[in-house]
Structure formats: structure tokens, C-alpha cells
């Protein structure tokens, strides 16, 4: 059963066509990685799946419903760099935001919200930092807090936008270990431009460069990756963006 169904979706920012005739099906329990050059449409596709953007054409179903209806069952982790590093909030404050939209509208969080937020922190092994200032944490810890925030809403799907940017190697490894554990019960979709490293962990690689093609990782070879990027693929970790050549998709 697929949890995400994208049919013939196109999207443009003004005159600039970002995604064209996209078809995509993500099965339940998948661990998929969206890869592709900057500006290739990875984040745009993610935002379409979250209902933050509306497609110009085509249809998107998430968990059998429209993205707007389904998105409370999606745990979303945005690009970390977008957040204000000085924001006055504790770790628990941040994780609790993941409970928004789940309970009452007015007033404070319920006891159940607190319980689920703490549980989510426990899952990312940060329970003892609940009352620390979010701003004072390391980059890797902040990423885990944001994953906990996504988990606090008890999602069926986890969507992460560049979760490993600005992390050093060992922390990145830890993060993927955590995601692999979570993948035992959640479908995971993440955006990365670091295919070389990610391909060890994920089950499916979804190449996004205006058009979209998905490949099971088992069928990936170095030669194929070269072909996908249209340029030498840097298997070296934390290198620069691969050159933005068109994806050749006669694989």
C-alpha cells in the first residue's frame, strides 16, 4: 500500500517551471531520500506533499487524502537554518509545538500533550535536556529536538528537509541510526544532497531535478549515480553540491 501518490503534478514559481509531470508512489514503511541539485525542486516537492503549496496541475494524495487533510499525520522537520537561533524557548517548549492542532485550541497544553512531548524527547535520547534552553544546544542536539517535535504529533509519515546539513560526521551517523530505528514503524521521506552517505541507509532514492524518478537503493551502482547526476557524483561525504546537470532517466 502506498502512503503517498503523486500523479502528473506540475508546479511553477511564476514563469519558472520547477516540477514537471511528476509521478511518484511511496509505499508504507519506505525510507526514501529525495536527492538532486539545489533548485531542482526537492524542497518544493516536499512542500507540495505538506499542502504548503498547491500544484498547478495533477493530484497528490497522502494517506489517501489531500495533503491539507492529511498533514497533521505528517511529522515535519524543516530546514534547521531557517530557525532563529536566539529564540527564547526550552527544549520542551519546542517539542510541545508538535502537539499543536491535536487537542484544544485555547489556553495551554494538556497533560497528555506534555506526556507525549516528553515521550518524543525520550525517543531521541534527550529526555534529560527538556528544560535546557533550545538556543544553548549543539547543532546535532537541536536537530534531534526538531525530530522529537515532529514525533510528538504521533505521525504516520516523517518528512525531513536536509536534516544533516551543518552536522559533523559522527553526529550524522547517530542521526541516521535514530531514523533507521524510527523507520521500523514510520514511513520516512527526507531531503538530502548527500547521496553518497545516505544511500547506505535508505531503501529508495528519489531523484528530483524538475522531473522525478525513484529507484530502489539495491539497484544503485556508482556508475548509475554518475549517470543520474550527469556529472561525476561525489561519493565523498560533505562535498559541494553536485553540478546541476539534467537527470538522464533512461535507467
Amino acid at each position: 500500500m502506498s502512503v503517498i501518490e503523486v500523479r502528473q503534478v506540475s508546479f511553477s514559481y511564476g514563469p519558472h517551471r520547477v516540477l514537471e509531470d511528476v509521478n511518484l508512489s511511496v509505499p508504507q514503511g519506505d525510507f526514501a531520500c529525495l536527492v538532486g541539485p539545489n533548485g531542482g525542486g526537492k524542497t518544493t516537492l516536499l512542500k507540495l506533499l505538506l499542502g504548503l503549496l498547491e500544484p498547478d496541475a495533477g493530484s497528490i494524495r497522502v494517506l489517501g487524502r489531500s495533503p491539507r487533510e492529511a498533514r497533521r499525520r505528517i511529522g515535519y522537520m524543516p530546514q534547521h537554518a531557517r530557525l532563529d537561533p536566539l529564540f527564547p524557548a526550552t527544549v520542551l517548549d519546542v517539542v510541545l509545538m508538535g502537539r499543536l492542532g491535536a487537542g484544544r485550541t485555547l489556553g495551554g497544553y494538556s497533560r497528555r500533550d506534555y506526556h507525549l512531548a516528553r515521550e518524543a524527547l525520550h525517543q531521541v535520547a534527550l529526555a534529560d535536556l527538556a528544560h535546557r534552553s533550545f538556543a544553548a544546544l549543539s547543532g546535532g542536539q537541536q536537530q534531534r529536538v526538531l525530530i522529537a517535535r515532529a514525533l510528538a504529533g504521533q505521525p504516520d509519515i516523517l518528512m525531513l528537509d536536509e536534516p544533516t546539513s551543518s552536522l559533523d560526521m559522527s553526529v550524522e551517523q547517530e542521526l541516521y541510526d535514530l531514523l533507521q530505528r524510527l523507520n521500523q514503524r514510520l514511513t520516512i521521506l527526507l531531503v538530502s544532497h548527500d547521496l553518497g552517505f545516505v544511500s547506505q541507509f535508505v531503501k529508495t532514492v528519489i531523484c528530483v531535478n524538475r522531473r522525478v524518478v525513484a529507484h530502489p537503493t539495491s539497484s544503485l551502482s556508482g556508475e548509475m549515480i554518475n549517470q543520474l547526476y550527469g556529472a561525476a557524483m561525489h561519493m565523498v561525504r560533505h562535498d559541494h553540491e553536485p553540478a546541476g546537470g539534467d537527470l538522464s532517466h533512461h535507467v
Binding site: T90, D93, G107
Partner: protein
């Protein structure tokens, strides 16, 4: 300064007690709204709205004299213009492709220019321009005090009821939207609250200095607060101390209290920013 404390309790100095109370009450709304404004980094928007207000004050004054609309407090004109400005800036930021800061800057100066023209065109009227620009807390009435108290109650209530949504929208608008929070709605509501607060504060510190009362206490409290509610309470405390000191310091030499308060806040903020760089005080 001791002169001030003695004068404060003299029976004939009711205006002084009124002024002090008005300053303290105004600081509450300013601190709560200001905390969101500062963490959402929209001080510039608050500045734009507050300066626009001059246009509303000028127009109301003009209509009062030329059209006989007496009995209409100029502050109603200010309120109308402030809400309008907040709405325009908010909608432009949310939907238009215009550069937001350019629009804010344009509204800012157009509002002020319109105000000056209205005041100049009002026949036989000698406006207290300095009072409008820099406030005159010593002239506040009891009615104004009720208005500020009502504002405080409204602001605190709205922020208590929707604190989670406001905080989420300030921290991460996109995530809030995914969680089903109507982020644009709460952003607009925040701007409207800012507009109302700014208008009420104009009496205390004037059009030009309002932005200081909204941002500086929060900036000072921000050095110590770890959470948003703490930031609000801290900013309130700073604001109360500053307003009281501002009145006290300015009383004997007969200086404008609004400007004195703002200067004290600015000095405290600068000193704190420097002091925190000294190794001894580093956390």
C-alpha cells in the same frame, strides 16, 4: 529625584500619580506585544505602523476643526490609520510580491507627511507637535487610564488564549501551518494587536519614541529570559522601572519624561550589551 517622590504624594499632584500609573499600565501591553514583535523580528513593522499614526492624528484634528467633528478624540483617527497600516503591511507580507520592507518604509513616511500637512492645513490651530511626536505623559486623563487598562486586559487575554499559536507562528510559521494553525491569521492578529498597542502608547512616549517602548524593555529582558513568558514578565518589570525612573529623573529639571525614559532604556540596553562581553559576567 527625591523631590519627585515627595511631590508624588502631595494631594495637589494627582496628575503625577496618574502619569505614573499610565506609564506602568502602558508598559504591560507594550511588553507582551513587544516580546512577540522582537522574537518574530518585526520591529521595523511596528516602527512603520507607529509613524503612520501621525497621519491619523493629523486627519482627525483637521476634520475636528474644519468639519466640526469635535468630540472625536484624535486617537480614534490614529487607531483607524494604525489598523489600516497593519492590515496593508500584513497582507503585502503574506501575499504580494512587493518587497515588504520597501512598502513599510513608504507607509512610514507617507503617514508622517500626511500628518504634517493636515496639521499645517488646520486653520487657527496651534498643534502641540512635540507632544504628538514625543508624547506627554503628564497630560493624561483618567479616561486614558481606563483605555490603557482595557488594552492591557485585552492583550493579556488574547495572548493567554492563543499563546501557543503565537509562539509557534513566531518560531516556525511553516511548521505551525502543517500542524493546522492558521499562521497568516495569527500573524495578522499579532500585527493588529501591535497597532492598537502602538496607538495607546502614543500618548505616553509619542509617535517617534513608541517603538522604543515596544522593543527596548524586551531587548533588555532578553539578556536574562530563557522562555517567552519569562521574557514578557521581565520586559514588564524593566518597563515599570524605566517609566518610574524616567518620570522621577525628569521631574525636577522639567525635562520631557517620555524622551528621558527612552534614553534611560537605551543606555541600560547598551551598557548591558557591553557588560555581557566582559569575561566576568559571561554565562
Amino acid at each position: 529625584m527625591s523631590e519627585f517622590w515627595r511631590a508624588l504624594w502631595a494631594p495637589e499632584n494627582g496628575f503625577l500619580r496618574l502619569a505614573l500609573l499610565a506609564g506602568i499600565l502602558a508598559g504591560v501591553a507594550a511588553s507582551v506585544v513587544g516580546s512577540y514583535v522582537v522574537v518574530r523580528r518585526i520591529s521595523y513593522i511596528a516602527g512603520g505602523i507607529s509613524h503612520c499614526v501621525l497621519g491619523g492624528i493629523g486627519a482627525a484634528q483637521y476634520l475636528a476643526v474644519t468639519r466640526g467633528w469635535t468630540g472625536v478624540d484624535p486617537l480614534w483617527g490614529a487607531l483607524l490609520v494604525a489598523l489600516l497600516a497593519a492590515g496593508v503591511i500584513g497582507l503585502v507580507g503574506l501575499f504580494a510580491k512587493e518587497r515588504e520592507d520597501t512598502v513599510i518604509g513608504a507607509l512610514w513616511v507617507v503617514g508622517m507627511a500626511a500628518g504634517i500637512l493636515f496639521l499645517a492645513a488646520t486653520p487657527g490651530y496651534n498643534p502641540d507637535v512635540v507632544g504628538i511626536l514625543f508624547g506627554n505623559i503628564l497630560l493624561v486623563s483618567k479616561g486614558y487610564l481606563y483605555a490603557v487598562a482595557a488594552l492591557d486586559v485585552t492583550v493579556v487575554l488574547v495572548c493567554y488564549l492563543f499563546h501557543r499559536q503565537f509562539m509557534a507562528v513566531c518560531f516556525d510559521e511553516e511548521f505551525a501551518a502543517v500542524r493546522g494553525v492558521r499562521a497568516p491569521l495569527f500573524y495578522l492578529l499579532l500585527l493588529l494587536l501591535t497597532a492598537v498597542t502602538v496607538v495607546v502608547l502614543v500618548r505616553v512616549v509619542g509617535v517617534v519614541l513608541v517603538i522604543a517602548l515596544v522593543t527596548l524593555p524586551v531587548a533588555i529582558a532578553g539578556h536574562f529570559a530563557r522562555r517567552l513568558p519569562g521574557l514578557m514578565v521581565g520586559a514588564c518589570a524593566v518597563s515599570i522601572v524605566a517609566t518610574t525612573l524616567g518620570l522621577a529623573v525628569s521631574y525636577q529639571p522639567d525635562l520631557p519624561p517620555g524622551a528621558t525614559t527612552v534614553l534611560l532604556l537605551g543606555l541600560a540596553y547598551l551598557l548591558l550589551a557591553v557588560a555581557r562581553r566582559l569575561p566576568l559576567l559571561r554565562r
